[in-house]
């Protein structure tokens, strides 16, 4: 039995002529301990898919099953990290992470509780900032707190919804490596949603493209059999990396082109450019 299974899941928003089908007949199966990356275009329904799995919304049709049982709501067995860090601004790093610890370990002595909090804060390299509030932290540090809080739930399943998209390239690279390292330690099941093929190549066991919406569905799986830990610069020399990266990028380029051609209501009008010379404003 698969760890997570989606069977013919469809979801639409709106009613009547305004109704937009976001996901259509989507099938997905993830094994326990697998790290899966779903790569999708902006507006294709990535967050809708994540919310369905998290149990925040219900599908119109089809089933979302975790260990064979239908998902009926949110729960601490699934930790989520969003692109917006969603921290409580009036609480320190310790208190924000403490929320996660309290959710799953209700009756801990204050010593044990503190030990657990420190453990997760240390895991994301934030110990020096443990007494700071979110407003005193950089974007990358805030996202680390959010990761620590999700990990503190000790979830069976970690859901990462474009977690690094709002960060600059350097910070993004650092966090990708850190989160992959944390994952390698206990190999919990992870679903990463991203718009970045290279992020998937660096972190995941399998990359699955989400086709452009409306009516998005999943494309073929691309297994990533590259040794871990993976290094961005070293990967570039690996022929297997090159071939796989090109296959994924080619697939995405082609599916988008097909989609554009099909959804274009009217052909481009092909205006004719008149032959004009711009005036030189310096002589005015």
């Amino acid at each position: 039995m698969a760890f997570l299974e989606l069977r013919k899941v469809s979801k639409a928003y709106g009613t009547g002529p305004e109704r937009t089908e976001v996901l259509k007949d989507l099938d997905l199966s993830i094994e326990e301990g697998e790290f899966v990356a779903i790569v999708g275009f902006s507006g294709s329904g990535k967050t809708t898919l994540m919310s369905l799995i998290a149990g925040l919304i219900k599908p119109d049709k089809g089933e979302v099953l975790m260990r064979g049982k239908p998902v009926t709501g949110a729960g601490p067995d699934r930790g989520i990290v969003f692109q917006s860090y969603s921290l409580l601004p009036w609480l320190t790093v310790r208190e924000n992470v403490g929320l996660g610890v309290d959710t799953v370990h209700g009756k801990l002595s204050s010593d044990e509780r503190e030990k657990k909090i420190r453990f997760y804060v240390e895991m994301v390299n934030l110990s020096p900032a443990i007494d700071k509030r979110p407003s005193e932290l950089s974007g990358g540090m805030r996202q680390r707190v959010s990761v620590a809080r999700a990990l503190a739930l000790n979830p069976e399943f970690l859901l990462l919804d474009e977690p690094f998209a709002a960060l600059d390239a350097l910070t993004r690279g650092t966090l990708q490596v850190e989160v992959e390292r944390i994952w390698r330690r206990d190999r919990k099941t992870v679903l990463l949603i991203t718009n970045d093929v290279d992020e998937g190549m660096l972190m995941a066991d399998r990359i699955i493209p989400l086709t452009p919406g409306p009516g998005a569905t999943l494309g073929p799986s691309f297994p990533v059999h590259l040794d871990r830990p993976r290094d961005h610069t070293e990967l570039n020399h690996d022929p297997e990396f090159r071939q796989l990266r090109n296959s994924v990028l080619t697939y995405l380029t082609e599916i988008r082109a097909q989609h554009r051609a099909a959804s274009r209501a009217t052909a481009p009008r092909n205006y004719k450019l008149p032959n004009l010379k711009p005036i030189d404003l310096r002589y005015l």
Binding site: V39, N195, H237, Y271, P278, I279
Partner: protein, 279 residues
């Protein structure tokens, strides 16, 4: 030589009275007409300083910039600029935003001709059915398309792109790179682009100039792209040299990372580099 561009011993010192450290020192670059050159380097290496000097938005401390045989003095519509944020006027439609500049540079054209110019470029960037929308009704990617159409519509001698797709997600970025590639295929404007994105530079450029870390930034190494034009992304990716060149750039950037942390004296010992003569 309508689009020939020459940067000669370009040097920039901010506040020279108090500070002797140059952000950019003796930067030399020759671009032939229709050439696409990318400047790549880490944040703060001075690549945007070079670009804004060519745009005429930033004073030159020493050296000169010659565009189409004339030394530039200040900004002008002969150089179209696209920044990271599209900077559209929010109360105007996409059409009116592009028309604004078109009116200024084609005052002798008929109204019908000006409408045709604006429509032509908006259509080509894929906004044929969204011309009458205001910026807030358009996604960030669509807004940047308007910015690109606006720059091309002025028939500039040169195009300056300062991380034009830096704020977009990676798949939208790829889509806009293809739009830009298509436009340049029809209209080979001399272009200088500043970017962080290695794959973007490879796909679009004829030549890539890798800049050393500032201060005192210079031309570090130059790569010449072997890919034929017209280009298609899938073919460029499959070219036998693609990943070698990508590796060169990633290696250079990683090297600069390390060099960033050595004491200043050692850093100075890195000798000056000049652009190889590629005429």
């Amino acid at each position: 030589m309508a689009g020939h561009v020459e940067l000669f011993n370009l040097t920039k010192i901010y506040d020279p009275a108090r500070n002797k450290v140059a952000v950019v020192r003796e930067f030399n670059l020759d671009m032939h007409e229709g050439e696409f050159v990318s400047l790549i380097g880490h944040s703060g290496c001075g690549k945007s300083t070079v670009l804004t000097m060519v745009a005429g938005l930033n004073d030159v401390t020493e050296g000169a910039i010659v565009v189409a045989k004339r030394e530039i003095a200040g900004p002008g519509p002969d150089r179209g600029v696209v920044f990271q944020s599209p900077s559209l006027l929010p109360w105007m439609t996409a059409f009116d935003n592009v028309m604004l500049g078109v009116q200024r540079v084609f005052p002798h054209a008929t109204k019908a001709e000006r409408v045709e110019v604006v429509s032509y470029y908006l259509d080509i960037v894929g906004l044929g059915s969204s011309m009458q929308k205001k910026p807030k009704e358009l996604s960030e990617g669509m807004q940047q398309r308007v910015g690109i159409a606006r720059a091309f519509a002025l028939a500039p001698k040169m195009l300056l792109l300062d991380e034009p797709f830096g704020k977009l997600d990676s798949l939208t970025r790829m889509e806009l790179q293809d739009v830009l590639l298509g436009l340049l295929q029809q209209n080979r404007v001399t272009t200088m682009m500043v970017t962080h994105d290695v794959d973007e530079a490879l796909l679009l450029s004829d030549r890539i100039v890798m800049m050393t870390n500032g201060p005192e930034a210079r031309v570090g190494e130059t790569l010449v792209m072997p890919f034929e034009r017209p280009r298609v992304r899938v073919d460029v990716l499959a070219h036998k040299s693609y990943y070698e060149l990508r590796g060169c750039m990633l290696g250079f950037l990683a090297d600069q990372d390390k060099r960033h942390h050595v004491p200043e004296k050692e850093a100075e010992a890195v000798g000056p580099a000049t652009v190889p003569d590629l005429a």
